[in-house]
Symmetry: C2
Subunit: 494 residues, 2 copies
């Protein structure tokens, strides 16, 4: 979930200079239109890890727009007034009216997060509180409010660096408190709980936008542009026939630094090494599945990736190591008539494996947020809600001790072209290449973007994505087998 | 919440004869249309207390419609197949496809309910499971399914009678198990948990319909008509522009037995008794507010009722007993401009009282489901979601140790007319009677129906409605004071 926010996003001074004035103008105009049309209240949450620049961000927004019509609320300790009333009272009393913008820094998420990290509340109660928050935000959206939620993220090292630099400089030393260092020590716990929190509270109506906090220019530009896009969308649509507000757009990384583009696809494995490793990991896999505790588990393996990335080949290398009674390979094509008459996830639920069984999906439920999104087979609202439905689906399986292993096999355009051509030449491979493949290839960037959004929103601690550099088949197959073995070992507690 | 399902609803043989054939024909037609159009899947949940006739109801539905296109699922113990997979698997695998009807008896609600009643899971975990159910049902609705949820209710005595009669008759004795008697002993706990469950899982898209189970004819006719109305609504609307399915209609009691009509408005109190009681309870109230523990509480009193039912008078009888620094009376009229620029509940949140304070609302947030519903000031979807938002709002206050006391002051049409005329005569009372009052009077039945729905859906154990027979002002004022004292005593643990 945080992977894309640890890539070291940056915006150069030049780009900044080029973009900034247009952005500020756009925001001012939008704010004015909002004020005059009184279209809706705008609620902006700025949350995230310490030192990720929450404060500065809020200052910039006030600087860029007309602060007279922005209400900033940095709510910390409860006042007596508030302590004697229900928890949400403090937020209700300062909600912005239609036409105004309210920025919350120190939001209704802080308390549950901290209480859970410090063990004051159990997960069940955390979930209770998150569900109340969800109901609150749903009410706001139903009432027509535009709710934008930004999470500023820093990697562990980055946060440490921040704290150190702040401490060195006498003019900023005061900003680093003991609590900051205490929180730093708890970084991993915070990360884990935050992820759970973002996962359960990211809805189509008010999704979280996770922003890498390292580079200020990137931070400000991303948040500014996301805000502007959402505002304009609201202001420009003519009244909806049946008044549901549109789903706010998701903003692609403004510096074009996509996680899939950071992979080193040149990685290779010599034939000899490959054969050695293959034997090693297939053997290991086989042994693992004969572990007595394996009876308590089930395994779901998902293969997604570019066309011709070698999913089939990798799957065969897995099944070679297994007993045929132990696994099922489920190829996912267009839904059958029977499947179309059911909710989207039905065709996958029917293939949920029993204990000590593998279900290996060649393409999967992620089709909803990949091909169906790009080809427009379903509405924006449908694929947006799919992220949540999918996370919930996988969570249910994991809760039942299923090992979820998800692979994205990545190749570049040139390699794909080579393989397409090869497939057309070699007779017995020809069936593998279709019109669709060429069509999808045309939309390479769109698919790439959809895949990156998918990874950002569905790579969770309980069901992480493994990105596989697949230009070299040998390298890819071994990485797949190795990962699978590691995940199983972990699940078997070895 | 169950009040209206304990009034002894009945349908005579004559009415039954008159209605039944048309209903059956209608259902068959609707089923056929559903089948041919494949408009959506229909999911019917039949839940409720033991012996309330769940089984018979399902049989009737199968008898009335074409059973070849109905799939009935009485899911009890888990099979091995199911035990090895996530809990919802068993339901996913039997979901009806578009065009078909699936009836579930023994639903996804049974397990959480029983586990909580027997103390196997705490409330926090119950809420977790209910939220998962909510997400599941939301997904079904988002996917276009029609989800109808019926809860068959029996009063404690009624259930006992049932069990006894079943036991007497040798042909039915086998149906009464030890578990049934065990459950009967736990009736009160079941009632309490069920209420919490129905409260949190009744959504605009799939609200619960609570049906009194005592009289079979009433039971069957209510469920049959509700089903037919919902089916027709779905089948007859032309495709929505932005595909959200319509909110299913709520069915008024088919025997016109409305809870407000069961009140004995003739109840009176002699002047002398009145003055005695008045002094007694005002004194008591005053003493209670000086109890040291009162500092830990806050009190919210809500007055709703027919126009000219005497809300103001009753309020004065309360405030006379209090220190002016202790209470605020909040008269609710049409929202101000400032209030209109905020979410509906904002104007009430701003008046949530501090500890050891009274907030007395002369009309309240219930305006949403009364005047705004009847006069069409808001959409069907808006007042339907208001029930849930209101319950959530009140729950938040109660969780913060607020005593919620809600009064509905009831008078009949004749009495109202008398008071209207009187007000017009007496100069200083003339300001009290407006055009609106006469207009509302025209819509007496609609307001009555809205009030009854309101009571059914928002009278909860934590925030019950007290219905006050108010034709006689003396009687009403004493009942109000007495109830208030009792609620405070209970809260102070005396």
């Amino acid at each position: 979930m945080f992977e894309s926010a640890e890539l070291g996003h940056k915006v150069s001074k030049a780009v900044w200079k080029k973009e900034i004035s247009a952005l500020r103008e756009g925001l001012l105009d939008a704010q004015l239109d909002l004020l005059t049309t009184k279209k809706c209240p705008v609620i902006i949450l700025v949350a995230g890890v310490d030192c990720a620049g929450k404060g500065e961000t809020v200052n910039i927004l006030n600087e860029w727009m007309d602060p007279r019509h922005i209400e900033t609320h940095a709510l910390r300790d409860l006042t007596d007034e508030e302590r004697e009333r229900p928890r949400m009272y403090r937020y209700w009393r300062v909600l912005p009216p239609k036409g105004k913008i309210g920025i919350f820094i120190g939001t209704w998420y802080s308390r549950p997060l901290i209480d859970n990290v410090y063990g004051d509340i159990k997960n069940a109660e955390l979930d209770q509180q998150l569900e109340r928050i969800l109901r609150f935000e749903k009410m706001l959206c139903d009432e027509g409010a535009l709710v934008l939620k930004f999470w500023l993220h820093l990697s562990k090292d980055e946060q440490k660096k921040r704290l150190k630099t702040l401490e060195k400089d006498p003019s900023t030393r005061w900003r680093v408190t003991d609590t900051d260092w205490e929180h730093y020590k708890l970084y991993d716990t915070f990360r884990q709980v935050s992820e759970r929190m973002l996962r359960t509270t990211s809805t189509p109506e008010s999704p979280w936008t996770i922003v890498e906090g390292t580079d200020p220019r990137y931070r400000y530009l991303t948040i500014g542009k996301t805000l502007l896009a959402a505002l304009r969308q609201r202001l420009d649509i003519s009244e909806q026939p049946c008044h549901i507000e549109p789903i706010p757009p998701i903003m692609p990384a403004i510096d074009n630094l996509l996680i899939l583009r950071t992979l080193d696809l040149s990685q290779k494995l010599k034939k000899s090494e490959y054969e050695e490793e293959l034997e090693k990991y297939q053997g290991k896999l086989n042994v693992l599945t004969r572990n007595p505790d394996f009876k308590k588990l089930s395994v779901v393996v998902v293969f997604e990736g570019n066309d011709a990335a070698g999913k089939g080949g990798s799957i065969r290398r897995i099944t070679q190591a297994l007993d045929a009674r132990q696994y099922r390979v489920i190829p996912i094509a267009a839904p059958t008539e029977e499947e179309q008459a059911q909710p989207y996830l039905w065709r996958f639920w029917r293939n949920v494996p029993r204990k000590s069984r593998f279900a290996i999906f060649d393409r999967s439920w992620y089709g909803r947020v990949l091909v169906e999104r790009v080809e427009g087979y379903c509405d924006h609202a449908d694929w947006m809600r799919a992220y949540g439905e999918i996370n919930e689906f996988e969570e249910q399986m994991v809760r039942k001790r299923t090992v979820m292993v998800k692979f994205w096999l990545s190749i570049d355009r040139e390699e794909q072209l080579r393989r397409f051509k090869e497939r057309e030449k070699i007779g017995f491979k020809r069936f593998k290449i279709t019109e669709d493949d060429w069509r999808n290839r045309e939309k390479w960037e769109e698919y790439e973007l959809a895949a990156c959004d998918m990874i950002d929103r569905t790579s969770t601690e309980i069901a992480p994505w493994t990105l596989v550099e697949a230009n070299d088949k040998n390298y890819a197959r071994i990485k797949v087998l190795k990962t699978l073995c590691e995940r199983l070992e972990a699940a078997l507690g070895k």
